[in-house]
């Protein structure tokens, strides 16, 4: 059975690093893996999505609407944009952060209110303030790994497997901080 994961966010939030960690983990676990990324223009602050699929044999590299087992959203509005990709019974992890798109900054549209509350009525959502936790441990940049740590709770791999792949994927100087960030997310509970 092929499993589908999506990582969505705003260009520059580190979706590519996150998907590389995930890809490495799945390869190590012996799965056939395909990942699909966005490079180029959309990376300049646009909406970005990375698809990750794994199983015994994977054909297409993209996750289609209604088929994601897990969606990791680094920003609230992006969670809303891609929520319809989640399958029934899937899990949506949302980093509780707001980044205004230019259409909101210039007043052409409004940033939707109460996104997380609305999504919670329709699907299984776990919200986390990754940025706050990252600042607490001393580096705002690793908020994405905190969020990945939260998502890892809903996947079938051991903490040790994750740490192993983070150690070999991120730049050597940042290993300690990234592992700390991952564990902060992994060991947190939703209502703290």
């Amino acid at each position: 059975m092929t499993k589908n994961i999506m990582i969505v966010g705003v260009g520059g939030q580190g979706t590519l690093l996150t998907s590389r960690i995930l890809g490495g983990l799945l390869m190590d676990a012996g799965y056939d893996v395909k990942l699909s990324e966005v490079h180029g223009m959309a990376q300049r602050g646009g909406s970005v999505v990375t698809f990750v699929r794994y199983g015994e044999k994977v054909y297409e590299p993209i996750v289609e609407e209604g088929q994601a087992d897990v969606i990791i959203a680094f920003e609230r509005l992006e969670a809303l944009r891609y929520a319809h990709f989640l399958k029934k019974g899937g899990k949506l992890i949302v980093n509780d952060q707001r980044i205004d798109p230019i259409t909101v900054v210039i007043g052409a549209t409004k940033y939707p209110e109460a996104i997380i509350e609305g999504l919670k009525e329709e699907m299984d959502v776990h919200a986390v303030d990754g940025m706050k936790k990252a600042i607490e441990i001393g580096n705002s940049k690793v908020f994405n790994i905190v969020v990945l740590g939260v998502a890892a709770k809903y996947m079938e791999f051991s903490k040790e497997d994750w740490i192993k792949v983070i150690e070999k994927t991120v730049p050597p100087k940042t290993v300690e901080m990234n592992c700390k960030a991952f564990l902060t997310g992994y060991e947190s509970s939703e209502n703290e």
Binding site: Q43, G46, V104
Partner: protein, 581 residues
């Protein structure tokens, strides 16, 4: 045991080149092809360069091939247009060492100005095309392409698409082949394409393409998978994966060679299946040929020409499933924008204030076309800013372009902008050209070029001085200015657009995403001073947010401390402070 590694399609292509024994690689960056060159430099056996444009890259690869080594050029689909002059003729001449062009198409226009299909160019140039469908095949097909190139005396195109280039999948690594250099022998009738020789070679090209169409019917790169014969698909590239996903039991003819088409193989397959679908992204290249042979098939009647394909497209249009997927309504769009601290934003804020139109070009600064900047009026292709502005002046006269400038980046200027500027000098233009020099090829992910002082392989190189280059054309009015010096910039632009002579303004400030650059400052708001005028918000910096009460706050993580908002604030409500990091 052989090693398996997860690789981007593009990384697998460069691995394929390495294993095929390639010695020379030349390219100009362009999404989605850029990572081919960026990853090929891990192999010291290969000389790899960024050339100033795709025509030069193609010719470098051609020269290497003629000298007897295996050589590769890589570029995006529109780059193939720039390289089409050498491509069309080297198709006649053929090769000595194997010659492969990797062309990366962009269905769905993730980062391009059009959605053209390289297979049509290849048909016109009479060049064979292989199209892989995942990372493993990307590597394998590059190696096959080099063999075919030498066997059939032809350049070979490996066509990829954004989805393939930017998807990762497992790849089994093999050793590099030990390919001996071919002996170079002077062969005027083959390598000098003047009319008498080219006529003979044209006949050879016709014969070659017929032979390949015939011979490759038996090649494993074209795969027939007979299962349930009620439905049959002819497909290629990434589209194959969607077919396997949705119709795992259908019969499939997966074409690895998409030009020329293996006709006999297709005719046999068509006879075996009841309903034949042709599922190919972009143009109906396979479909039109197959239908012209009198074969009934369903293709673009139900599938699109525009855009990327998906498994859901097959579910809806072939299986007639009602997916009725409900999207959230009224989700604000999030288009790409210039980064916080981008020097282009500063330049555009001045052009906007002066109500000047920009004849635009290809790069991050194309984003000056959209709100809130709305400065760029035109974008066609690499280098076109300067020449289109010249055309306007010649059509309408000097006064007509007093509120126009051409805006072009440094890498794009070195690509083909320089030709257009030579034309302005020669044909007596009075235009104002602005070269937004941010010291890198920004949009494609920060590649070096002839004016940065570094090569693709990381060596120091002479940095061509753009100021001196313009001066050397005999242009009297060439100026350099800091992109963030709003006062100097405004004065200079006003003077130059009103001058009855050609002038070049080079704004020099590096891209904020260049690796290793440090930003020691950030901007903060001073409580109580904001009068809610909104002047700082006008250039659309994403680090700024308008609060509920109309005042402004600055996101300290996003801010790079460029000071543009501070300079635009007349009430001293924003100041620049140092950071410790």
């Amino acid at each position: 045991m052989s090693e398996t590694k997860i690789m981007l399609g593009n990384e697998a292509i460069s691995r394929g080149a390495y294993e095929a024994g390639v010695k020379v690689s030349a390219a100009y960056p362009g999404t989605p092809s850029t990572e081919i060159s960026e990853t090929i430099i891990q192999y010291p056996e290969i000389y790899a360069e960024w050339s100033p444009n795709e025509k030069v890259a193609m010719e470098v690869a051609i020269g290497a091939s003629i000298s007897g080594v295996r050589a590769m050029a890589s570029m995006k689909h529109v780059g193939v247009n720039v390289a089409s002059d050498p491509l069309f003729t080297i198709s006649y001449a053929g090769v000595n060492g194997g010659l492969v062009l990797v062309a990366a198409d962009d269905p769905g226009l993730y980062s391009s100005q059009n959605e053209q299909d390289t297979r049509l160019v290849a048909r016109a140039a009479m060049v064979p095309v292989l199209e892989p469908s995942d990372s493993q095949e990307a590597k394998d097909f590059v190696k096959i392409a080099f063999d075919l190139s030498e066997q059939y005396d032809t350049p070979v195109i490996v066509r990829t698409t954004t989805r393939l280039s930017h998807s990762q999948g497992p790849v089994v690594l093999e050793e590099r082949l030990n390919i001996e250099d071919k002996v170079y022998e002077r062969n005027i009738s083959k390598f000098v394409m003047m009319p008498g020789n080219a006529k003979v070679r044209h006949l050879y090209v016709e014969k070659r393409m017929k032979e390949m169409a015939n011979d490759l019917c038996n090649s494993p790169i074209n795969k027939v998978e007979y299962q349930d014969k009620k439905i049959g698909f002819i497909t290629c590239g990434i589209a194959y994966q969607y077919v396997k996903e949705v119709c795992p039991n259908a019969s499939v003819l997966k074409l690895g060679m998409v030009n020329p088409l293996p006709r006999k193989l297709i005719e046999e397959f068509a006879k075996e299946v009841e309903t034949l679908y042709i599922f190919e992204e972009l143009e109906p290249v396979i479909e039109e040929q197959v239908k012209s042979w009198g074969i009934a098939a369903i293709g673009k009647e139900i599938f699109t020409i525009q855009g990327e394909y998906s498994a859901n497209m097959l579910r809806e249009r072939v299986l007639k499933e009602d997916l009725s997927l409900e999207k959230a309504k009224d989700v604000p769009a999030r288009p790409p924008i210039l980064c916080p601290g981008c020097p282009h934003r500063s330049v555009y804020s001045v052009l906007k204030k002066l109500k000047i139109h920009g004849a635009g070009d290809i790069g991050c600064y194309t984003l000056g076309a959209v709100a809130p900047l709305n400065v760029v009026d035109t974008t066609v292709c690499m280098g076109a800013s300067i020449s289109t502005l010249h055309g306007m002046e010649k059509a309408k006269g000097k006064d007509y372009i007093k509120d126009w400038v051409a805006v072009i980046g440094d890498s794009t200027f070195m690509h083909t902008g320089i030709n257009s500027l030579m034309n302005m000098v020669y044909n007596k233009s009075s235009a104002t050209v602005m070269i937004l020099d941010n010291s890198t090829t920004g949009m494609t992910g920060h590649q070096d070029h002839a004016a940065t002082g570094k090569t693709l392989m990381g060596e120091d190189a002479p940095a061509i001085n753009i100021f001196q280059l313009c001066k050397s054309l005999g242009i009297e009015h060439v100026y350099e200015v800091n992109a963030f010096d709003l006062v100097a910039l405004e004065k200079m632009i006003k003077e130059e657009v009103n001058r009855d002579a050609l002038s070049v303004i080079i704004t020099k400030s590096p891209c904020v995403l260049i690796k290793g650059l440090k930003f020691p400052n950030k901007c903060i708001t001073i409580p109580g001073k904001c009068v809610k005028c909104g002047a700082c918000l006008k250039p659309g910096c994403p680090a700024l947010t308008k609060n509920e009460d109309g005042t402004v706050s600055i996101n300290e993580i996003m801010c790079n401390g460029c000071g543009l908002c501070m300079d635009l604030c007349k009430f001293g409500a924003i100041e620049k402070v140092g950071t410790n990091s």
